[in-house]
């Protein structure tokens, strides 16, 4: 330590006494309180991708529930004389090989796809969240059973598993009509889809259960179940929601693929997958591609909307990605 006259630029300097208040205990009340969900919602609202995908989804849901508002043409009335007819007034998307009105079928086909996607996601999320949360929270033999069980269902590739499952269902439950057909696909996809959510939920719970607020709640004497349901599961939800939103799109594509393989929805069901499958000869020849374009385009837009929504939700829920 030296103690001579300071060198140039190192002279003693004291700033004028300005506002160097003690760290204030004051709470900023200029804006309303914000929970994490509200903050996420605020971030979501600022993201144009969210508004873009959400508006598309609103339109798609409208089509799902009120197809008849948009078209009065029966999607099941075929007129072979119009086979492969080009778009024309009153039939803006033209006709397919059977002479069905492509516009009407595209509109009415939305229902099967969207409902399969939604239902499968809901079922998978519920099963996955609870199995994953219980396994992660209680550990021990319960964890072993759930984790190995998930491994078993995960080890069989989803598409192949769904094909085998549906072919089995075909034998047990041959003539199952519209809703039966839809539920069969949902069951096949859900039975083999849950492990994905289980793994995510389990991982999130394992991380959260060691956080200090959980120990603090334990020290209160709060029961395990209270801890699980009021502290751990709500905090584990964000990654689960994000995965679920993205996988919704994946299930819609899977349904189309199954229908294309002739094993998904029965041919009597009006669906994008069935129509794309039926357009196969046109694709091979390269003519009359409008038969393929409209159902495939509708499907792609729907899936894209869910994917974009998933991206936007992830950005909003993950503060790290928000930066």
């Amino acid at each position: 330590m030296h103690n001579h006259t300071p060198r140039q630029g190192q002279e003693r300097f004291v700033a004028p006494a300005v506002s160097s208040e003690l760290p204030a205990l004051h709470v900023d009340t200029s804006h309303p309180p914000e929970s994490q969900w509200k903050q996420a919602w605020k971030a979501l609202r600022r993201n144009w991708l969210f508004w873009f995908s959400a508006s598309l989804l609103v339109i798609i849901l409208f089509v799902v529930f009120f197809p008849n508002v948009l078209t009065s043409v029966d999607p099941r009335s075929a007129d072979l004389s119009h086979s492969l007819g080009k778009p024309q007034a009153g039939h803006i998307f033209g006709f397919d090989r059977q002479g069905y009105d492509v516009f009407s079928r595209t509109i009415h086909g939305a229902r099967a796809s969207v409902i399969i996607g939604l239902l499968t996601t809901i079922i998978v999320t519920i099963i996955g969240l609870f199995t994953g949360a219980l396994a992660g929270f209680f550990g021990g033999w319960l964890d072993t059973i759930v984790s190995r069980g998930a491994d078993i269902f995960f080890a069989i590739p989803l598409l192949l598993a769904a094909i085998v499952g549906l072919s089995a269902l075909n034998n047990v439950w041959p003539d199952r009509g519209y809703w039966g057909g839809v539920f069969a696909v949902v069951i096949a996809l859900a039975v083999f889809g849950w492990p994905q959510i289980t793994r995510i939920a389990r991982g999130a719970v394992l991380e959260i259960k060691h956080l200090e607020f959980v120990d603090a709640a334990r020290s209160l004497g709060a029961s395990k179940w209270r801890n699980l349901f009021t502290h751990i599961i709500p905090n584990a939800l964000p990654p689960v929601i994000v995965t679920a939103t993205v996988s919704l799109g994946v299930y819609i594509v899977a349904e189309a693929t199954l229908s294309f393989l002739g094993i998904g929805l029965p041919p009597s069901v009006v669906s994008w997958g069935n129509d794309i499958a039926a357009a196969q000869p046109q694709v091979r020849s390269g003519d009359n591609l409008h038969v393929l374009f409209f159902p495939a385009g509708a499907l792609a837009i729907t899936v894209l909307s869910f994917m974009l929504l998933g991206d936007a939700v992830r950005d909003a829920l993950d503060p790290k990605a928000r930066k």
Partner: protein
């Protein structure tokens, strides 16, 4: 290390047993008579029936059938299909084709996905990044068979760069287009994963410190950002082999390739139960082995992972 491998191997046993049992139950625990399926409407004499039932173990209880199947599978004997061919022969003929196809798809998706994802991450928010995000989402959103038909139409039928269908000539050049189609969806995932990972690593402390030590940008990006970003990609690729094998069901159908996917699909449609369970068992084995290898590779790539 050995302790880890042994533990991982022990863990795979219940998975293999469970998965085969699951598939066995789905395929065989159904009403309906496979013998009838075999002969159609033709009447079958009791003697023939008894002989066939004995041959396919159909006279045994379900669990015994499954155990007998496992016993055979252990030595590579998957029994005989209803049409009389040894299933192991069918698999032996088709599996290499699909392997080649899946391997090519994996190389394509890994190389293109990592390169595109790396540059997208480096230029976050710029035109290239946005374009790649749209491309990747579109690829995921459009069913693979639509893309497959589209590419087949353009490159096979119209430009005639490659034959539209492959058939029995499974040469490297013939398989390029199908491999691209098979790898497209995974390419999109690899791209997105690499991008996220690159963005995360770009702001890592050790990357900033390397820059502070005077390491040039290009060297930092290659040695510290890219290298560190590859770890999650490798994990993804391992799990992806299973997905590619299953995806082969569609791709092989489009391009008429005699691979294991096509075999599985045909077998399911025809009710060839012995073939179905065998093929699925093989795929489960491939998945399990691939994830084990990836875990080991993961440890080789990331020295922090210790075999515990």
């Amino acid at each position: 290390m050995w302790r880890y491998i042994v533990r991982r191997l022990l863990q795979t046993i219940p998975v293999i047993l469970g998965a085969t049992l699951l598939i066995y139950a789905l395929v065989f625990l159904q009403p309906g008579d496979p013998i009838v399926a075999l002969f159609g409407e033709k009447p079958v004499s009791d003697a023939v029936r008894a002989e066939l039932e004995a041959q396919y173990n159909l006279d045994q209880p379900f669990l015994i059938q499954w155990l007998l199947f496992l016993k055979g599978a252990l030595v590579g004997d998957f029994g005989v299909s209803y049409s009389g061919q040894p299933v192991s022969e069918l698999i032996g003929r088709t599996l290499p084709v699909t392997f080649q196809l899946a391997f090519m798809a994996m190389i394509i998706e890994a190389i293109l996905g990592v390169i595109a994802g790396f540059y997208a991450g480096m230029r976050r928010g710029k035109i290239f990044d946005s374009t790649m995000l749209v491309v990747s989402l579109t690829v995921i959103a459009i069913p693979i068979f639509v893309l497959g038909f589209g590419l087949q139409l353009i490159f096979g039928v119209q430009l005639q760069w490659v034959p539209p269908t492959v058939g029995s000539d499974t040469s490297f050049t013939n398989l390029i287009l199908p491999a691209v189609v098979l790898g497209l969806v995974s390419f999109a995932y690899v791209l997105r994963l690499t991008r996220t990972s690159v963005i995360e690593n770009l702001t890592a402390d050790h990357v900033r410190t390397a820059r502070a030590h005077g390491v040039s940008d290009s060297l930092v990006n290659r040695r510290h950002v890219l290298r560190n970003s590859l770890i999650p990609v490798v994990t993804f690729l391992g799990a992806d082999l299973g997905t590619l094998m299953a995806g082969a069901v569609v791709t092989e159908g489009i391009f008429n390739i005699n691979g294991i996917g096509n075999l599985a699909y045909q077998a399911i449609l025809r009710g060839e139960n012995p073939t179905v369970v065998s093929v699925v068992t093989v795929m489960v084995l491939i998945y399990v082995v691939a994830s084990l290898l990836v875990d080991l590779l993961y440890a080789a790539l990331d020295p922090r992972i210790r075999y515990a």
